[in-house]
Every structure is written in structure tokens, then in C-alpha cells.
């Protein structure tokens, strides 16, 4: 940044400064054009939906608060589910390392079963099938269980890769220092594996905020999609309602992606 300022201030410019300035200009040019195109695309999208069909703005105004109220529920279910998923994923990944057959089997069985069936079916299972066995729980918990179990199975691969990313030299050094396998895992392997796993876990969380919409199909969790569908159907304004929900989801993921980027770059810096 400093270098650039100096180059513009009329002081004699070195070859390197000129090249650097040119590159900076090129980068800014590119970013500006991308932003412009985004704006145009957005404008076209708005035009497409507001031109031939008339959007009912009073509907939007009247139902804004109701639909926005689903954001909190969506975030709540996503956070609870990602916590459960992280714990399950970690256990499943550790289970995969076990030399004790039942533990290894439990881990692979869980991952195989969950990955072999649709998420939608799993969610329905918790809401519709379990009550038949007289297992009933609040809608939110059933949703969190279904999402957490599902994401846990997929995320176990992330943690497996994280654990595998720690070289065997680390384990040997810890062992040679007298650490037990448990201490080695807790103090040496896991902290490094976790750092590796944080960025992809962030991605999963962002995906989860959107997949949580599937829970709306049960009718028991009043999150974003459920609310949009409810008022949209009741007042024959599905277009407006769904567009509003889409904007909320999109805004959420943009914010989350931004936070994710900040965390990622902070992790990369100084490797700490």
C-alpha cells in the first residue's frame, strides 16, 4: 500500500514499483468489473420478476416481520445441528482409527447407513416413523438430531483427513517424551487436526443453514422456509414469499462466507 502511494507521489519510480502499481491497477479493475456485473445480474433478476408480473409490495411489507422471524430459528437449528454433527464426526473419525473391532464397526456402520439414505428421508423418519414407536420429541430436537446425524457422517471425512494430516513424526515425538496415547491425541494430534478441519467445517455450517429448510416439511419447526411457504400459500403470494426467504438465505450465507474467509485467513497467517 505504502509502496503504491510512493509510486504515485511523483518520486522517481523503480521498475519494481511500476510493475507493482500496474498489477494493483489491474486487480482493482478486475474487481470493479466483477462488482458491476453482479449489479447488472441482480438488476435483471429484479426486472424479470417485477416486470411482467406485478409484485405485491403490501404483502411484502405485511409479512416481512413474520418471515424474518424464521431467520433466528434457522440459525438456532443450524448451530445446534453443527455442534452435534461436529461431536459425532469427531467420534466417528476417532472410531475409524480404533483397533477395537466393535468401535471400528460402529463408526463405519453409522457412516455407511447415513450416507446410503437420503437426508429428506432421515428427517421424515424422525418426525413420522419414530412416533409410531412411541418415541416423541419436540420438533426442534427431532430436526437437530436428523441434521446432526446426517452432517456428522459426512463431516467425519473432514476429521479423518484432519487427523491424517498430522504426520506420524508428531505421534512419535510425543510418545518418546512419555505421553500416553490419550495425552498424545489430546495435546498434540487433535489441536493440529482441528485447525485443519475448521475451514471445511465452516463450509458445512453454511450448507447446513440451507439444508435446515428441509426440516420445514415436517411442519413442526417454524424456520425461514416454513414461514415463507405458510404465508405464501395462504395468501396466494408464493412468489413474493419465496423470494423474500431466498434473499434472507442468500444474505445469511454471504455474511457467513465472509466470516469464514476472515477465520481462514487468520488461521493461515503465521500458521497459528
Amino acid at each position: 500500500m505504502n509502496l503504491f502511494a510512493k509510486a504515485e507521489s511523483g518520486a522517481p519510480k523503480t521498475q519494481a514499483e511500476l510493475l507493482f502499481a500496474a498489477q494493483q491497477r489491474k486487480e482493482r479493475h478486475f474487481r470493479a468489473n466483477v462488482a458491476l456485473t453482479w449489479g447488472i445480474l441482480l438488476f435483471l433478476l429484479v426486472l424479470l420478476f417485477s416486470g411482467p408480473i406485478n409484485i405485491d409490495t403490501t404483502f411484502i411489507k405485511n409479512n416481512m416481520l413474520f418471515i424474518a422471524g424464521g431467520v433466528g430459528e434457522t440459525i438456532r437449528i443450524s448451530i445446534l445441528s453443527i455442534i452435534l454433527a461436529t461431536i459425532l464426526a469427531l467420534l466417528a473419525a476417532l472410531g475409524r482409527l480404533s483397533t477395537f473391532p466393535p468401535i471400528y464397526a460402529l463408526s463405519t456402520f453409522y457412516v455407511s447407513l447415513i450416507r446410503g439414505t437420503p437426508l429428506y428421508l432421515q428427517i421424515m423418519f424422525f418426525f413420522l416413523a419414530l412416533p409410531q414407536l412411541d418415541i416423541r420429541m419436540p420438533g426442534l430436537w427431532a430436526g437437530v438430531l436428523a441434521l446432526g446425524l446426517n452432517y456428522g457422517a459426512y463431516m467425519s471425512e473432514i476429521f479423518r483427513a484432519g487427523l491424517a494430516s498430522v504426520g506420524k513424526g508428531q505421534r512419535e515425538a510425543a510418545t518418546a517424551l512419555g505421553m500416553t496415547p490419550g495425552q498424545t491425541m489430546k495435546r498434540v494430534i487433535l489441536p493440529q487436526a482441528m485447525r485443519f478441519a475448521i475451514p471445511p467445517t465452516g463450509n458445512e455450517f453454511i450448507a447446513m443453514t440451507k439444508d435446515s429448510a428441509l426440516v420445514s416439511a415436517t411442519g413442526f419447526v417454524h424456520e425461514l422456509t416454513w414461514r415463507a411457504v405458510k404465508v405464501g400459500r395462504a395468501q396466494f403470494h408464493n412468489l413474493e414469499a419465496l423470494i423474500m426467504a431466498a434473499i434472507f438465505y442468500w444474505t445469511m450465507t454471504i455474511i457467513l462466507s465472509y466470516i469464514q474467509g476472515v477465520i481462514e485467513s487468520r488461521l493461515a497467517k503465521g500458521d497459528r
Binding site: G169, A173, A176, L177, G178, R187, P191, Q192, D271, R272
Partner: protein, 254 residues
């Protein structure tokens, strides 16, 4: 008879069907510096790693400072003995293996605190003392990523020393270093030898073997084929394989 601090008796090690160590017996008296040389694949690392049970010996026994462990056994008593032996030995690896998520000081004090239950203040005091003696105290709050190989290896030595081991094991401690960084690590090892530490060193550094070692062992195909004072070894090697090895070092390849 002077008491030996390390006693290896009739040690065998198999990797699957591969017979890597063949009936090795060896005693190392306290304060002795032993260099272990031999061609690649002769079993040097495996022998060293059997001493602290990073590799479990198939047969035979290891005794370090009075703790005797039979190879190939199982159970909690065996595990306890292995743990005791590990507390008496420090190991330095070719690849340093510092913990990248910990600062230099944390690397050094972690094990004394969680393994030996050392008081944190005492661990810091001892750790700083050892970092100072390897010339790395000025980097105490740095992270390993930002250090040179030679600096990392000196910290790895300080880390092992802070566990207060009776014997130090070095597996090619300078082989991963740029040539200009080898000297600083060898100097630390020389100082350690002078301070009376018992050391077993796998190395290709013939200069170090000649100047610092009290004794040089030569391994070939899982056996100790030579056990002599460095001056004798270089003057008249007994085994033709030793002669070939030394000629290879002399001609600069290794």
C-alpha cells in the same frame, strides 16, 4: 566392572518376515558417547527405536538405568515398564518433530508438566535454562514454522533434555539440515557429550564420530559387525564391509 546404563540383550526385531535386527547384544556405560554407522537399511534406526520402544522388540530385553523390559510382552505391567524406560531416554529425530501449534517454550515444557507432573514454574525455569544452553532462549515465544532447521533441531534437543533423561538417542539429527546449519547442531551435541550425557548417535557425520565418540558401532544387515574406538576403526577396520563403508564416506558420497 563399571555398571552399564543401557543393556541390550539378544535383541531380535522382525517386520513381518523381514528379520531386521539379529540377536543384538550391547552394553553402554554411563557417560559414553556411541556412534552408530552403517549403510541405509542396515537397521540403525530400528535399533535406536527399540531402546525406547517406538518399535516393540520381537525378542530379547532392553534395560535402561536399571529398568529391564522384555520384548514382545503385553499387558499393563509391560506398559508401565516401557513408560519408565521412555522417561529415562530422550530422543532426537531427523525431522525435528517439534509441535507446530505450540511456541518454542511450550514445546519444551509440555511433556515435563503433563507427563512428569512437574510444577509449571519449575518447568519454565528448567526449560529456559535448556533453551539457553542450546542458544535458543531468544526465540522462546516464537513458533517453529518461523525457525531454521538448525534452530528447530536445537530446540528439539532442549525439549528432550527438559525431561531430564539419563540417555539421549539421536537418529541422524543433522541429515535433514542444509550443510551450513549442521555445525550449530553438532556443537550443541558436543557440549552435551562434554557435560557427561550418555549418548547413542546414528550419524553419517564421520568428523563427529572421530572427534566426539568414545566408540563406534558398525551395523550391516541387522548385525553389529564392528565395535571399536574411532581411531582404530578408521585406521584398520576389521570387517571388509566396514572398510567399504569408510571408503564410501571418504570418497564423499555416503
Amino acid at each position: 566392572m563399571t555398571s552399564s546404563i543401557v543393556k541390550i540383550s539378544k535383541l531380535d526385531k522382525y517386520f513381518g518376515r523381514l528379520h531386521v535386527l539379529k540377536n543384538i547384544s550391547l552394553e553402554v556405560p554411563e557417560r559414553q558417547v556411541v556412534c552408530l554407522i552403517g549403510r541405509s537399511g542396515s537397521g540403525k534406526s530400528t535399533l535406536l527405536r527399540c531402546i525406547n520402544f517406538l518399535e516393540e522388540p520381537s525378542h530379547g530385553s532392553i534395560e535402561v538405568d536399571g529398568v529391564r523390559v522384555e520384548g514382545g510382552e503385553k499387558g499393563s505391567h509391560h506398559r508401565q515398564l516401557v513408560h519408565d524406560v521412555r522417561l529415562k531416554t530422550g530422543m532426537v529425530f531427523q525431522e525435528f518433530n517439534l509441535f507446530p501449534h505450540m511456541s518454542v517454550l511450550e514445546n519444551v515444557i509440555e511433556a515435563p508438566i503433563i507427563v512428569k507432573g512437574m510444577d509449571r514454574k519449575k518447568a519454565i525455569e528448567l526449560g529456559e535454562q535448556n533453551l539457553d544452553s542450546v542458544g535458543m532462549l531468544f526465540k522462546r515465544d516464537e513458533y517453529p514454522m518461523r525457525l531454521s532447521g538448525g534452530q528447530k533441531q536445537r530446540i528439539a534437543i532442549a525439549r528432550a533434555l527438559t525431561m531430564e533423561p539419563r540417555v539421549m538417542l539421536f537418529d541422524e539429527p543433522t541429515s535433514a539440515l542444509d550443510p551450513e546449519l549442521i555445525g550449530e547442531v553438532l556443537n550443541v551435541m558436543k557440549k552435551l557429550a562434554k557435560d557427561g550425557m550418555t549418548m547413542l548417535v546414528v550419524t553419517h557425520e564421520m568428523g563427529f564420530a572421530r572427534d566426539v565418540a568414545d566408540r563406534v558401532l558398525v551395523m550391516a544387515e541387522g548385525e553389529l559387525i564392528e565395535d571399536s574406538k574411532p581411531e582404530d576403526l578408521f585406521k584398520d577396520p576389521k570387517d571388509p564391509r566396514t572398510k567399504a563403508l569408510i571408503d564410501r564416506y571418504r570418497s564423499g558420497e555416503n
